[in-house]
Symmetry: none
Subunit: 232 residues, 2 copies
């Protein structure tokens, strides 16, 4: 059990200035102009080596880690906070998003290739759905309830109730896709003529009202200018 050498405070705190959180990045502290050789005592060879060498290695390790983390943050487009933990978290979310998108794109490519390789004369198949007179984008979304509830842990619960019409489901899907939210899970349940939509969304609790407003305006935009305003 070594007795602690008292060089800590004099060694680190005086220099380096600790500049921590200057504006946007946490210091990324360069200029390690430490003269550790200024140990006042005549230390033994093993002690001085063990101290000055390990202390230097540790500094380099931390520096490298911070540089990597900094480089990682530079790659991620949507950055919420500058925390180390948040940076990693954003990177995780971004990788998942990229992976999903890759799967989607590859599926699209396969399907497009199939369409290209096949005979260019099959006009009949996609028209199965239009048999219900649709004019798909006309019936407005009739909103019955809209709640946005913070659930803690940066999660908002969005609960929507509306009457079920032929294209309401499609519209809701498009609506939420257009909002570019971080949807954790989405649930859509229809019983008789009513439609219940529940979403868990990753967002700060303070965005609650803003999110509700976004959804309302999006619904209004989908319904078009001629529809009467819906108050809940």
């Amino acid at each position: 059990m070594l007795v602690r050498s008292t060089t800590k405070i004099s060694g680190s705190q005086t220099m380096c200035l600790k500049t921590k959180n200057i504006g946007s990045s946490w210091a990324m502290d360069e200029l390690y102009d430490n003269d550790c050789s200024s140990s006042p005592d005549g230390a033994t060879a093993s002690a001085s080596l063990s101290n000055s060498n390990n202390i230097l290695s540790e500094r380099n390790r931390r520096k490298k880690l911070n540089q990597r983390l900094f480089a990682l943050r530079a790659l991620v487009p949507n950055i919420t906070k500058m925390d180390k933990a948040s940076i990693i978290k954003d990177a995780i979310d971004y990788i998942q998003q990229l992976q999903e998108q890759e799967a989607t794109l590859q599926a699209d490519i396969m399907e497009l290739e199939n369409n290209n390789n096949n005979n260019p004369k099959n006009h009949d198949l996609p028209m199965l759905l239009t048999s219900k007179n649709t004019s798909v984008f006309d019936s407005p979304i009739q909103l019955l309830q809209l709640n946005v509830t913070p659930m803690g842990d940066n999660t908002l619960l969005v609960s929507i109730t509306c009457t079920k019409r032929a294209d309401t489901v499609l519209k809701l899907c498009q609506l939420f896709e257009s909002l570019n939210l971080k949807i954790i899970t989405a649930n859509l349940t229809v019983v008789s003529a009513n439609l219940f939509n529940t979403l868990f969304i990753r967002a700060d609790e303070k965005e609650k009202e803003e999110l509700k407003m976004q959804i309302q305006t999006a619904i209004a935009a989908f319904n078009g200018p001629q529809t009467p305003p819906i108050t809940i």
Copy 2:
């Protein structure tokens, strides 16, 4: 300049066992059964709070950081080393690789879509969604699971799992509407890229296989004649 309290060695080194690099992950140390209250001296209130509270927060911070790093490592397929720095570096390389691949795939899709537009197919469809590079009515329903289970009381439980694509929800809704079933309730849940559809349907138990066949043929019809047969 505070005089160092000598609680460091007795506080940390005795417990915790420091298990460091057990096999594959660096400890991810649980069980912090430290009773820091065993400080032998009657410390002042400010000192004890500053010590025990900050020390706990710092442990939680480190723990969270390590968990995030662990989660990040789980997402990256090609892992070279288990270092913290290497984990971040691998994640960086992986993100760059994914970004390049995304650009390549999107270029391929554009090219394929241009080829498709030369075909005399339907240009008159409402192309509202093509802003997201997804062609609206073409992606087939990719069935992952289909179960029809009799629940008694003249009720059949239909459980469907498929990959979520831009128009899969719409297709499933229209599909079940076209089957003219007596739907008691329907539930549709999407988590990440998968889509779970559950329906309670009023029908005789003997129609179980027939209903399953109906659904399969309906999906095949929706997917069109050129799609490969899907076996479940």
